[in-house]
């Protein structure tokens, strides 16, 4: 007897089922944003000592309730903030001949020399602006009426200024931007993934251009 072939299953409604599932997922899920500007808040200290900082080493950014930007007591557009922050950070007013930080072979670490010079800075070396990147502090003050969007924009521009000077330093020293180094540090496929050499490079740039960014309450 000839084998009877089983009838084919009707797959015509497959599309409908799939559409139903698709619509269900469209409705119940969202595309989460999981990126942002990371910052570290300062811990509350019991007995705060007043540290005396020279006025020229502070870069004051003030955001008022009308979202106007006052940088070093002058009204400024948001577009110019990044460049003036870069100029301030990379100024190197402490002089060319000495350097504030030096590599110590014995302790295998960076050591502060106590001098204020900066021999790697590319700035104008204006004596009225910051001595070296270690002393340069950016201070941000906002009012309660400041809008969050503007605040984030300002944070973004200041972080961009730090990123810029670090990238330039990385290019000059190792022919690679700081950002790329960070990327290969986290990239599991990179040959330099979490390698000691790369860590040393990253640490050097971090040491030479530290992020000294404080917010006034």
């Amino acid at each position: 007897m000839a084998k009877r072939s089983s009838p084919e299953v009707n797959a015509g409604s497959m599309a409908d089922i799939a559409f139903l599932l698709l619509i269900f997922f469209l409705v119940t899920t969202t595309i989460e944003t999981d990126s942002g500007i990371s910052r570290l808040l300062p811990p509350i200290e019991e007995n705060e000592e007043d540290v005396i900082i020279k006025q020229k080493n502070i870069f004051t950014v003030l955001l008022n309730g009308k979202d106007q930007l006052l940088v070093e007591d002058e009204l400024m557009d948001l577009e110019d903030l990044k460049q003036s922050a870069i100029d301030f950070l990379d100024n190197g007013g402490g002089g060319m001949d000495s350097n504030w930080v030096i590599w110590n072979d014995q302790t295998n670490d960076w050591e502060n020399t106590g001098k204020s010079g900066c021999n790697y800075c590319n700035g104008k070396r204006d004596p009225k602006s910051s001595d070296n990147p270690d002393k340069a502090i950016i201070s941000l003050k906002n009012e309660r009426e400041t809008s969050y969007a503007t605040y984030v924009s300002v944070q973004n521009e200041i972080m961009a200024a730090y990123a810029h000077v670090r990238n330039q330093r990385g290019l000059k020293l190792f022919g690679e931007t700081y950002e790329d180094m960070k990327k290969s540090w986290y990239d599991v496929n990179s040959p330099e993934h979490k390698s000691i050499q790369l860590k040393k490079k990253i640490d050097q740039i971090k040491k030479e251009y530290p992020q000294k960014f404080s917010e006034v309450e």
Binding site: A11, M14, A15, I17, A18, F19, L21, L22, F25, L26, T28, T29, T30, I31, E32, T33, D34, S35, G36, I37, S38, R39, L40, L41, P42, P43, I44, L63, L78, N142, E143, R144, E145, T146, S147, Y148, A149, T150, Y151, V152, S153, Q155, N156, E157, M159, A160, A163, E217
Partner: protein, 160 residues
């Protein structure tokens, strides 16, 4: 005379829809992979600002979310139009933040607790006052790692 009239010649053949399920399944899988389930329903307007100096938050389970913004229209009669904080599923006060942080810490394994990050998902039209209050509370409970969650783009999009 035949019972069934023959199809007229010259008619366009029907479009073959056999691959339609495949296409739809492809879309379905894309959405299943690219999106996540909504874990708490937002009762506030939450349009995030834009920035380009962003870092990705790597571990999803090590993030605590604090939302802030104007209440949605359905809640405005009860909660007003001033920006409010939302923790988990309900409107909260600034003073509820420490309890929330402690509860979140308690739910994590001990060795992971100091790696917790607080993501601030704040609507871009909010004033900084409420954000400053949140930050002050976070400092009090020593939750110092924060992340201003933003979309990626040029900051000129923040102006309206």
């Amino acid at each position: 005379m035949s019972k069934f009239s023959k199809k007229k010649k010259g008619d366009l053949p029907a479009v073959n829809t056999a691959s339609l399920p495949d296409i739809v399944f492809m879309l379905l899988f894309f959405f299943m992979v690219a999106t996540v389930m909504r874990d708490n329903e937002l009762k506030i307007k939450n349009e995030l600002p834009v920035a380009n100096q962003v870092e990705k938050l790597d571990k999803k389970d090590l993030v605590m979310y604090i939302y802030a913004g104007k209440p949605n229209s359905g809640y405005q009669s009860k909660f007003g139009t001033e920006a409010r904080i939302q923790l988990n599923d309900k409107f909260s006060d600034v003073s509820d933040i420490p309890a929330f942080i402690f509860a979140e810490r308690e739910s994590k394994r001990e060795e992971l607790r100091n790696r917790l990050t607080t993501a601030l998902k704040v609507d871009k039209e909010t004033n900084m006052g409420i954000v400053s209050d949140i930050k002050k509370e976070l400092r009090k409970v020593n939750a110092l790692k924060i992340n201003y969650t933003t979309r990626i783009g040029d900051i000129s999009m923040n102006k309206n």
